[in-house]
Amino acid sequence: MLSRVLRTLVISTYALMILAPVVIAIDRLWAVTGVAPWQAFGLLGDLAVADGVLLFTCLVSVTASLLTLALGLPLAIVLAKYEWKNIALIRAILVLPFVCPAIVAAMGFLVLFDAGGPLNYVGIDLYQQSGIIGTISATLGFANIGHFIALSLALCWFNLSLVIRFIEPTLANMNPDWEDQLKLLPQGKSLWQRIRHLYAPILAPGIIASAGLTFVFSFTSFALVRWLAPSADTLETLMADYGGSAGIYGYRIMSSEIVLASSMVQIVILGSALWLVSHMQSLHQSRIAIVAESFRRKQQGKAKLGHRAILVCGVVFTVLPLLLTIISSFKMRVVENGQISTEWTTQGWSIAWRGDLSYAGAGEALGYSLVYAALTLVISMPLGWMMAATIHSLEKEGKLVRAKIVDFISFAPLIVSAVMAGLGILLGIIMWFPELFAWFLLPVWAHIMMVTPFVVRVMLPALRSMDERYIEQAKILRLNQFQRFRLITLPSLKGPVIVASALCLAFSLGEFGATWVLARTGDWTTLSVLVDDLMSRPNYFPGVRPAAMASATILMSLTLALFFISEKFRDSKDTGGF
């Protein structure tokens, strides 16, 4: 049980590190624009550049959430209900996109949707909008519907794991006798009745929580929008575009207005969504408890062809963009006598590795990424764990409302986008410690902001499910607090700790938005920034693109290796959602 002093310290540290930058940023924008934060909502409608941005952001986030449910639920159902060889591996592949750096995902989808790419081959042309996409676009009068579909699909790919992680274990551990019994009762004759009386009440909180989180992550997506829907803006990309000139007195006030208005709208919308998610997650945990009491995983039989098809499609959908990224790192564009063709070469890799086209080579950038990730881990892991322990100890004391409030605070960084987090730190640093402006470790702060909530989300269910009697027994055996932690708590939570650490490292490695906004010293280019740098420079020289793809492949391989290691330690009953 955490002492009150420690709890206060943990919550204050968290609030200071995570919330202070945002408060500082809003303060500065208020001072610069003269518009109070609560009056800023109206600005969004008045600013010409923001026209339609909120609508597009909401539309794409809702579409992505629904699409994720539509694709994720069948996958979760077939995975839970039937026997599969290597189920752990299949599950790991299906949930892998969530840890994949967004910039890598963006590269993979660019290739997937490319003219001559697999989708194009089956007649779906999302970028040049010929064929059926062109017809849909013309019919609906939606100018860039191809981009919209591309972005929604990529967001769905990214968040598929949420649905699977929330739903599959619950469903797999549900006692099949429950449904069999219901079939014999008048109110359970039809499938619909059984869904209504059995499945919906048990699964609904998990479904709503996963859809809510998908909405939140889609709403704040940056790299995917930047690369897959270049003609459209979301609130996040708008803030990124104008964030650089925001917060400066007497200069480009419109930028400050845009950022202030966007961030306030974002805070309200995401705050509401996360409040709902937080509520649904605790409901989901209580449903899990009922299910876990009843039964342990037992499949209902062998999968039929249809079920296999669903799973194969899911796996192909998951793997394809990643595979295409790797392939395209070996392909280089060649122009000869006006004919454009491609040749197979490892030139992209050598260019990337040597850093011929960038300030840092991929190897160097990899080293910096690892340093940032390691530092993030060292701070985020204990901070997130302590935060989770605080929530858990409040719950155990029966202080449920307080626990809920602290739980919601732990979610707070997700309410603020990565771009806003970066901007907050930038403005805060300039206000107080201008000499830290170019400090190479500055992005670590932003990484901590973005990563710590996930540590809380992994550790909290683990702490809740830990057998309290282990600690009681240890106390009786006269082990002191440190001994209890070292000998009992830490080994008992080894799995979740490894999972949370791997997530920490993976998210930090892939972090892009905040790092992109913060001052980037040339000597400290991370891999994700390197990919974006290479992609952003004029690609006249054909070696640029394969070099970007090679850097993306290195980043992807590192993240995925971490992910597969962590999956080995994941409890099959893990229902935390991440």
Partner: protein
């Protein structure tokens, strides 16, 4: 627990209450119109560790090898802070103007330096600049001893000759042609708010239309479904059918004209074995002569190192490579583009670029007007 919440509220409220003061607290609000503004403006000088800190965008000429060579020659260590473009450089300088954290800026062009000068962000240099071509001693900002040009180029409309030839469209002879049906939805413009070439071309149109009907023209372009993008990269590589975007993932190719450099077709040819379908459009006063500058930041801690780097940047060994490394013209006497693979042949040097008094123009107001016209 109540105590915890109270403490947290106090911490947050405290920070917030500091902000319940929209006048901006301790920040000095600088008056750029005051005549003695630069004499009375003394930014805090950062404590330096003798490393030259340079603020720049991704200038491709400054590779690791080039910078290492400077360190070998001069003994000065170099550290970079990078932004995305010239606008980003100005943003960073404005943001830290009271306590500058860099010594040298590289990359503000003539559409941005006016604001930097008005805000006293730069100081005089002592670098030897005698190798620079005499033509730079004339025109806007020529007398400014805080600015040293290091590369330049012309921004104008590029069009895809394949479309013009293939669809039997007449080569435009005026900007008004682009408001016609044949160009409907087929012209891509990078934003004048967030892109340097976009801003440069917008400025050129104010001269082309003589400050009379430029906003009507922009509104007409909007009505003709012109494509507006936030940066040059999206306009050129995603939308433009005549550029390198073709054959790359994400390419749309729905625009057959866009704003780029007048020598962009030359760069295309250089990397395309002397083949390109892109052509720079030579219309009088519809192009912008963009000059990129370097300058020592007001409040710099390592002035000597900054002067040394300026000399290195305009040295023969670095500046002669501008066309191939940074895709811009160098500034040295007799600098030109290479003949290799049609680089020079396909590049255009406009006869009559826009003639603007950039030091006097209120460019930010023009950007706002542009935004109003195109929204």
């Amino acid at each position: 627990m109540r105590k915890i919440l109270i403490v947290c509220s106090i911490v947050l409220a405290g920070t917030l209450s500091g902000c319940l003061n929209p006048s901006g607290g301790d920040d000095i609000i600088f008056d750029p119109t005051a005549p003695d503004r630069c004499e009375s403006f003394t930014p805090a000088i950062r404590s330096s560790n003798d490393t030259l800190r340079i603020l720049t965008y991704d200038i491709y000429t400054l590779s690791d090898a080039v910078v290492s060579e400077f360190t070998n020659q001069s003994g000065y260590q170099v550290e970079f802070i990078r932004t995305d473009d010239a606008g980003g450089i100005l943003d960073q300088m404005m943001l830290t103007k009271d306590a500058p954290q860099v010594d040298l800026m590289i990359g503000l062009d003539n559409s941005y330096v006016g604001i930097a000068l008005k805000n006293c962000l730069l100081q005089s240099h002592q670098a030897n600049t005698s190798s620079i071509d005499a033509s730079f001693e004339q025109g806007n900002f020529a007398g400014e001893d805080s600015l040293v040009p290091f590369d330049h180029g012309y921004v104008c409309i590029n069009y895809d000759n394949q479309y013009v030839d293939g669809e039997n469209v007449s080569i435009p002879t005026s900007l008004e042609n682009f408001t016609e049906e044949v160009w409907k939805g087929k012209v891509a413009f990078p934003s004048a708010v967030t892109s340097s070439p976009g801003r440069a071309f917008m400025l050129a149109t104010t001269d082309y239309f003589e400050g009379d009907s430029e906003w009507d023209w922009w509104a007409a372009m909007k009505a003709n479904e012109a494509i507006f993008t936030s940066g040059w990269t999206e306009a050129y590589s995603v939308h433009y059918s005549g550029g390198y975007g073709q054959g790359y993932p994400g390419y749309i190719g729905d625009a057959h004209a866009t704003v780029s450099y007048c020598h962009s077709p030359g760069v295309e040819a250089y990397f395309g074995s002397n083949w390109t379908t892109s052509v720079a459009l030579d219309l009088p006063r519809a192009s912008f002569h963009q000059i990129e500058y370097t300058g020592i930041v007001n409040g710099a801690a390592n002035v000597d190192a900054a002067n040394a780097f300026i000399e290195y940047l305009i040295s023969e060994e670095v500046n002669r490579n501008m066309p191939t490394n940074n895709y811009m013209y160098g500034v040295l006497q007799g600098a030109d583009l290479p003949e290799t693979d049609g680089y020079r042949f396909h590049s255009l040097v406009p006869d009559e670029p826009a003639n603007l008094n950039l030091a006097e123009l209120d460019i930010e107001a023009l950007v706002s007007q542009w935004l109003d016209s195109t929204s």
